[in-house]
Symmetry: C2
DNA sequence: TAATCATTAATTGTTAACAATAATTAAATA
DNA sequence: TATTTAATTATTGTTAACAATTAATGATTA
């Protein structure tokens, strides 16, 4: 029984390897919200699902533990890591550190083809309905991925990818407001204009503003649903 | 046969858990330079060494892979991750991003006991011979650990710890010059003076300068021994 | 002698069985 | 009936055996 494999944009973008390893499949399920924060990861079930024995599953889970996506508890097995809603603040603050660092290189060294590709992504964004928030998110990710993927500090790139995946996991099942949609498109456009000029400072400022506005929006979204525990506002890293 | 367990300062400081799990023991061996970059990690040997079978070893190695300390190659097993000397540049640039972020919180919210502890560490540093570079490095680590350990963004703290361990692994077997030793002590002192005043900006500037001077020193050290491949100078993140 | 090939040994990655622990269900008691 | 207690089931974490792959050794040929 031959099946046609569906490849999502986020996979094309390279955020998760598109091999069929147990590791990648579990990570994909987490990133796409099939497995949500706190879900038990029962080795026997996963082994059956992926047609293997429990040890390769355990190894994949251990690797994911090392990457922060899974948490083990002694004699109680593995769960998808608890993403408290303070986690979202922490992730956005991390992105505020990482992304300007990664962008600087791109702003200084990019080809016309890079810019064309980015314009192409923005074009697709504008052609996308706000309701189709899965596709919009994928394009958003693809835009940033295009900016950072070529950086010399590949460990930093890997880190960005992980944080981005956690973010994706946290709002995989939430819709995007029409305002946020149009704001995001506009922010990408201004960002791109600074990048194509090679204006490092301005581009980084625009990027920080973009991350912050996205962060404020999503934290508010999550706060609405989640119970209010010790909330701290997102820290603006410049002015 | 009862044995007295030696606990190093870096363990006390909490950089590596002091449990006797296979994971922690391997990580300690990497951090202390017993296992060096590129070394093969033969499961059967490690299993014998730690008195277990190969599967728990494999799981520990997979977790360490997730954390970036170990690299697997298909059907060729695991090795300690290749720390190229560009890795050191990447690590220092990452630390330049992370540490000011982590420090800000501490500068704003610290107790007199915190300051006393930091002064205590500096005291011990000045009382240490430059030749005893292992102890000096442990005190250096303990100083920074004291600054960051309490931060609300524990994922960022965990990340700092990993980067610091990689650094430790890379110069575990290298001596420290007398100049670097005295410079480092002085830098810690000026940093502490700004922190105790609650001067966020000045403290962060002093910290950045401290990281950069350390980075430049160690990159030069490693460059001397290593063959010169595509080297890039350490990027100063402010001015 | 040098180079190629086949054989052997070592190591990896996986499977399946097993003890230890935790969770669940059923039985017994107040 | 409610609540504890015992028995059962499920799951975890580990061990030991096994096929697949790679590395090492020795024999064969030019």
């Amino acid at each position: 029984m031959e099946t046609v494999k569906l490849v999502t944009i986020s996979q094309q973008a390279g955020l998760v390897a598109d091999d069929q390893s147990i590791y990648s499949q579990i990570l994909n399920d987490i990133a796409q919200g099939q497995l949500v924060s706190g879900d038990r990861l029962v080795t026997t079930q996963l082994a059956k699902k992926y047609g293997s024995s429990i040890n390769p599953v355990r190894e994949a889970l251990k690797q994911l533990e090392g990457e922060g996506f899974v948490a083990f508890q002694k004699n109680s097995g593995a769960r998808v890591a608890r993403f408290a809603f303070s986690t979202m603040r922490d992730v956005f603050e991390m992105l505020q550190l990482l992304e300007p660092y990664l962008l600087k290189e791109f702003t200084q060294n990019h080809t016309p083809e890079d810019i064309a590709e980015l314009e192409n992504i923005i074009q697709k964004m504008t052609a996308t309905q706000a309701q189709d928030f899965t596709r919009f998110r994928e394009l958003d990710t693809a835009f940033h991925w295009q900016l950072y993927r070529g950086h010399y500090n590949q460990e930093a790139v890997k880190l960005w990818r992980r944080k981005r995946l956690i973010l994706q996991a946290m709002h995989a099942n939430l819709p995007i407001s029409h305002k946020r949609y149009s704001d995001a498109v506009a922010e990408h456009q201004t960002l791109l204009s600074f990048i194509s000029k090679g204006a490092v400072e301005e581009a980084n400022e625009a990027l920080l503003a973009h991350i912050k506005s996205g962060g404020d929006y999503w934290i508010a979204q999550v706060t609405e649903t989640a119970s209010s525990s010790g909330y701290r506002p997102l820290q603006g890293l410049t002015g």
